[in-house]
């Protein structure tokens, strides 16, 4: 086995993947602006991607906020800075944890579901059937999911931000002796518009990544049940990694000033 050959093959495979993904993204973006717009399908996807993700996102945000408050309180104890719990919680949640936790949870829920659904349609020839019925599969399947995800994620994150801060508030007032009024006042006074907006911008990008990776992997699934299973796994793994990578990039871009 020639080591150079296997390195070369791996590089070619990677480049082919990047090429296919770029073409797919380009086709999908071009399809967003071209008529017709399937309003009914976008509405359906908003329900599935946004509304049904609320319980998962809400619960994780609540526990993340409370754990964050607890960590800052206990850690801050060591050098007498327990009083900054509300400020750090709101900063951590809105800038970082709200979008990332919501993004990852929705990636697990939605990217998997999209990949499984489109993958099954692919292996049962339903995507070919769309083409024969004069309907562009990218327009019919991908565009509504992309639009819905990009719209829904910021809304989900806005809700996650509120619930996360509330999680911190509950722990702080119940077991750390903060007064409710002071906690809320410190939170509101400290948080800036930039903190919140940066998180919502991240959320929109994460939404795009989730829908794109779900659709891309679904469309490229091969074979039968196993192929669909592989596509689902690939969708969750790739969207999670891309979300974390994009999170770093966006953080450095948004806060570079």
């Amino acid at each position: 086995m020639n080591p150079f050959a296997s390195i070369g093959r791996a590089t070619m495979t990677l480049l082919a993947h990047i090429g296919r993904l770029s073409t797919f993204t380009g086709t999908a973006l071009a399809a967003i602006v071209a008529p017709p717009i399937y309003g009914r399908l976008i509405g359906q996807q908003i329900m599935r991607i946004g509304y049904y993700s609320l319980p998962v996102v809400g619960l994780t945000a609540f526990f993340t906020g409370s754990a964050l408050a607890l960590q800052i309180f206990l850690g801050g104890n060591r050098f007498g800075t327990e009083a900054v719990v509300p400020q750090i919680v709101v900063l951590g949640i809105t800038r970082e944890l709200g979008p990332v936790i919501a993004g990852l949870m929705v990636a697990g829920r939605v990217a998997a579901a999209i990949a499984a659904e489109i993958g099954t349609m692919k292996v049962t020839e339903q995507i070919d059937a769309l083409t024969t019925l004069a309907t562009n599969p990218i327009k019919y399947l991908v565009v509504p999911r992309l639009i819905a995800a990009v719209l829904c994620l910021p809304l989900l994150v806005a809700i996650a931000d509120s619930i996360g801060v509330f999680g911190g508030y509950v722990v702080a007032t119940q077991s750390m002796g903060f007064s409710g009024g002071t906690y809320l006042k410190n939170t509101v006074d400290f948080a800036t518009r930039e903190d919140i907006v940066s998180g919502l911008i991240k959320a929109g990008v994460f939404g795009f990544i989730i829908a794109l990776m779900g659709c891309y992997n679904g469309f490229n699934s091969k074979g039968g049940a196993q192929g669909v299973g592989n596509a689902t796994t690939a969708a969750v793994v790739s969207s999670s990694i891309l979300i974390l990578a994009a999170n770093y990039l966006l953080t450095s871009l948004l806060f570079s000033k």
Binding site: P36, M121, T124, E125, Q126, D128, A129, T131, T132, L133, A134, T135, N136, Y140
Partner: protein, 255 residues
């Protein structure tokens, strides 16, 4: 009379595997051509190339004299409106009820309102022998024979000029297969369409075709009127239609 569909030297390979090696084929208007051939000989690839789902590497595909080989986007959609297709496994959309499956091409492809499209769907379901209340079922609730019927109703829903049938009788019992064959013959005549089918079921091929072409080794090795198939004088055709293990066709046991 100019041909409805014409394939000239169509070639397609997947990796190192040559599937189509210069296919030449002509389908006359309002005729029914059946392509026979063993599994994996490229019958599906031929149909999918005409439909534009697979892009051939070389060659030309003409529909009504128009070169459609490399059409994309809106121009492709326009050609697609001439086509209807019955898929092997039905390929019904399992998220939609039966009537919406049948009406799909009318609603999405032609922008018809849902109410009149539903009426047409019910009428097409009646043509394939299904009652109106089947329209409200979902595809998972249907038997194999019903799936084929709904698939057929969907294929004829927008009165296509050309209908493709991919293994229409595969997976059906002999009686249901005969019923589907009869339905294919009557609906194609009814719509006045041109039909192109692929199958390895010789009973079905004889019943639904005017002409038969045999695909082997990536080429059309014989074609002629259905009545002539028993006297083709071609040893490959003879072996295939009589289903003999011995003969010039060597089945690749390992892929």
């Amino acid at each position: 009379m100019s041909p409805k569909i014409q394939l000239i030297g169509v070639k397609k390979r997947f990796g190192s595997k040559v599937v189509l090696d210069g296919v030449d084929l002509t389908v006359e208007p309002r005729s029914s051509l059946v392509i026979i051939g063993g599994s994996g000989t490229g019958k599906s690839v031929t149909i999918k190339s005409i439909l534009g789902i697979i892009r051939p590497d070389e060659g030309t595909i003409l529909v009504d004299g128009e070169d459609v080989t490399h059409l994309r986007g809106a121009a492709r959609d326009k050609v697609m409106k001439k086509f209807g297709m019955l898929f092997q496994g039905g390929a019904l959309f399992d998220s939609l009820p039966v009537w919406e499956n049948v009406a799909f091409g009318l609603i999405q492809g032609r922008g018809m309102a849902r109410k009149p499209a539903r009426d047409i769907a019910i009428e097409k379901l009646a043509k394939v022998g299904l009652a109106a209340d089947v329209g409200d079922l979902f595809p998972v609730e249907l038997s194999g024979g019903m799936l084929k019927r709904v698939g057929l109703a969907r294929a004829i829903a927008s009165d296509p000029e050309i209908i493709f049938f991919d293994e229409p009788t595969t997976g059906l019992d002999p009686i249901m297969a005969d019923i589907i064959n009869d339905l294919i013959v009557s609906t194609v005549k009814d719509v006045g369409a041109t039909a192109l089918s692929i199958t390895h079921d010789m009973i079905s091929a004889r019943k639904i075709s005017d002409k038969i072409a045999m695909l082997y080794g990536g080429k059309i090795i014989w074609q002629g009127p259905t009545a002539a198939i028993d006297n083709s004088g071609n040893p490959y055709v003879d072996q295939f239609i009589h289903g003999k293990a011995e003969g010039p066709i060597k089945m690749a046991v390992k892929a």
